[in-house]
Structures are given as structure tokens and as C-alpha cells.
């Protein structure tokens, strides 16, 4: 299964490489602009990757599946609070968190909690001043509250459909 996943990952990179090659031949300017953005984005995410890497080590070292499962069984509300707070406080692109979330899934988080976490990643505290500049405090406050509320709805829907 892991071998198949690895093969699919390399195949995906190969396909994207093929797309770039095609763009490079037909639209050289777009090709170079794309590469420039790639370098900018990648250099920006390196610190986040290091942070995620450290977090993954610490998670693997400190969070033992049985202990976590035991703690989580105690309080369902804490799981949801963890998902909401974790999602809001997490940094970097969402896809950087997928491997860590996959590991936490094995350690007791449900798909509903993961969905709730990912939805709350949309609430970005450091970016709120920028959003307020464009849309105003009232709008951003309402939008934030509504999004946190809807993240629970999505989590519950996903838990039901995934049969957890």
C-alpha cells in the first residue's frame, strides 16, 4: 500500500513536470513566472516545514495512541475544541498538515475532527487586520463566528458519512 502511494506521488510529480514542460514550450513567459512563484512559495514554506517536522517528531514521541485514545474518550467536547483551536492556530499551507493529521488519525482523531481542523485553518488571526481593511470589523467578526459554527456542521456530516 505504501509502495503504491509512493509510486502515485512520483507519478503526480512527473505529470506536473510534464505540464510545466508543455507550458515551457508553448508559453515560456508563464513557465518562468510559474517557476519564480514556486521559488518564492517554497522559500516561504521551508520554515513552516521545519516547524511541522519538529511537531511530527514531538507528536510521535509524546502522543501514544492508547493514551490519547483514552484521554479523548473522556471528553468529546475537548476533541472538538482541539480541532477548532488547532485549526485556527496552525500556520502554513493546509497540505503541510496532511501527514501530521494522518498520523493523529491513527492516534485517535476522527475524520470529523480532521475536517473541523482543516475548516478552521481558514480563520487566520494574523490576517484579520488585512481582511478588516477590506471588509470591516463587523463583517469579519460575523464571518469568523459563522465559519467556526459551520466547521462543526461539516465535522458532524463527515463523521456520519464516514461511518465513525
Amino acid at each position: 500500500m505504501k509502495g503504491k502511494k509512493n509510486l502515485a506521488s512520483w507519478l503526480f510529480l512527473l505529470v506536473v513536470g510534464g505540464v510545466y514542460l508543455l507550458v515551457g514550450i508553448t508559453m515560456p513567459l508563464v513557465f518562468f513566472q510559474g517557476l519564480t512563484v514556486f521559488v518564492q512559495v517554497f522559500s516561504r514554506i521551508v520554515p513552516v516545514l521545519v516547524f511541522v517536522f519538529v511537531l511530527m517528531i514531538l507528536t510521535d514521541y509524546f502522543i501514544k495512541p492508547k493514551a490519547l485514545a483514552k484521554k479523548m474518550q473522556k471528553s468529546e467536547s475537548k476533541k472538538w475544541l482541539f480541532a477548532v483551536a488547532g485549526g485556527i492556530l496552525s500556520t502554513g499551507a493546509a497540505y503541510l498538515w496532511y501527514p501530521l493529521l494522518s498520523e493523529l488519525k491513527e492516534k485517535g482523531l476522527s475524520y470529523g475532527h480532521i475536517a473541523c481542523f482543516l475548516y478552521n485553518r481558514a480563520v487566520k488571526i494574523p490576517l484579520i487586520p488585512m481582511a478588516v481593511f477590506y471588509f470591516g470589523w463587523k463583517y469579519m467578526l460575523i464571518l469568523t463566528v459563522v465559519m467556526v459554527f459551520v466547521s462543526f456542521i461539516q465535522g458532524v456530516i463527515i463523521e456520519k458519512v464516514m461511518g465513525e
Binding site: S9, A115, F135
Partner: protein, 139 residues
Amino acid sequence: MSNFFRSVSKTLKSFKNMIPLLFGTVLLISLVSVLIPESFFTSVFSGNLLIDPLIGDVIGSISTGNPVTSYIFGGELLKHGVSLLAVTAFLVSWVTVGLVQLPFEAATLGKKFALLRNLSAFFLSILVALLTVFLWGII
């Protein structure tokens, strides 16, 4: 201490498997952000209060990048007379639906989960837009 090094080694392996997907995803995101210019967004909205939120939702779903970019686009769309409902659906789907990252999400968290999460996020963006604009209007 040996347990700690075991955790480091396990994480390193997991990262090694993640590298091709990560490179592919960032490369794709970079290309999409270059190929979809800002002028595209202002030319698509027709002014229809029912269809515009759906268009905003679709565009936000296929777009990717820093949320700041979506705020700037959203602000510009509002200035051009696009409804707040459409702009809200656009802003929300921009950050909650990730079509470009879908292969990576499916590979790490499962195909069914990734599809279900993105599909539900797509429809919930319209619900968030409706609730937000309704509450904004009455508070």
C-alpha cells in the same frame, strides 16, 4: 533516548515520502496562480444574485494561494459592484476548498475523506455566505 531517535527516523521516512507530492503541489499552485489573472475575476460576474454566489464559489474553489490575495480580489470585486454574497462565497471557498491539493490530501488522508471534505466545503461556502450576509444585514 532511543525512542526519540526512533521518532526522528519515522518522521524522516514520512517526510521523504511526502517530498514528491509537496513539490508537485507547490509547482501546480504556482502555475495556477500565474495562469488565472485578476481581470478574469471581474469579467465573470453578471450581477445575478442567485448565480453570482455559485460563480464565486466555483472560482474560489479552483483558485489557490495566500488568503491575502483573496481579500484583495474580493475587495476589488466589491468595488466593481459584485454582491457581498458572491464575494463571501468566493472568500470562503478560496480557503476551505482545495482542488489543487486534492491529490495530496487523498494520498495522505484517504480518497473518500478528501472528496467528501472538499465537496461539503464547496456547498457549505454558500451556506456561510448566506448566514454571514443575513446576520450582517440585521446586526
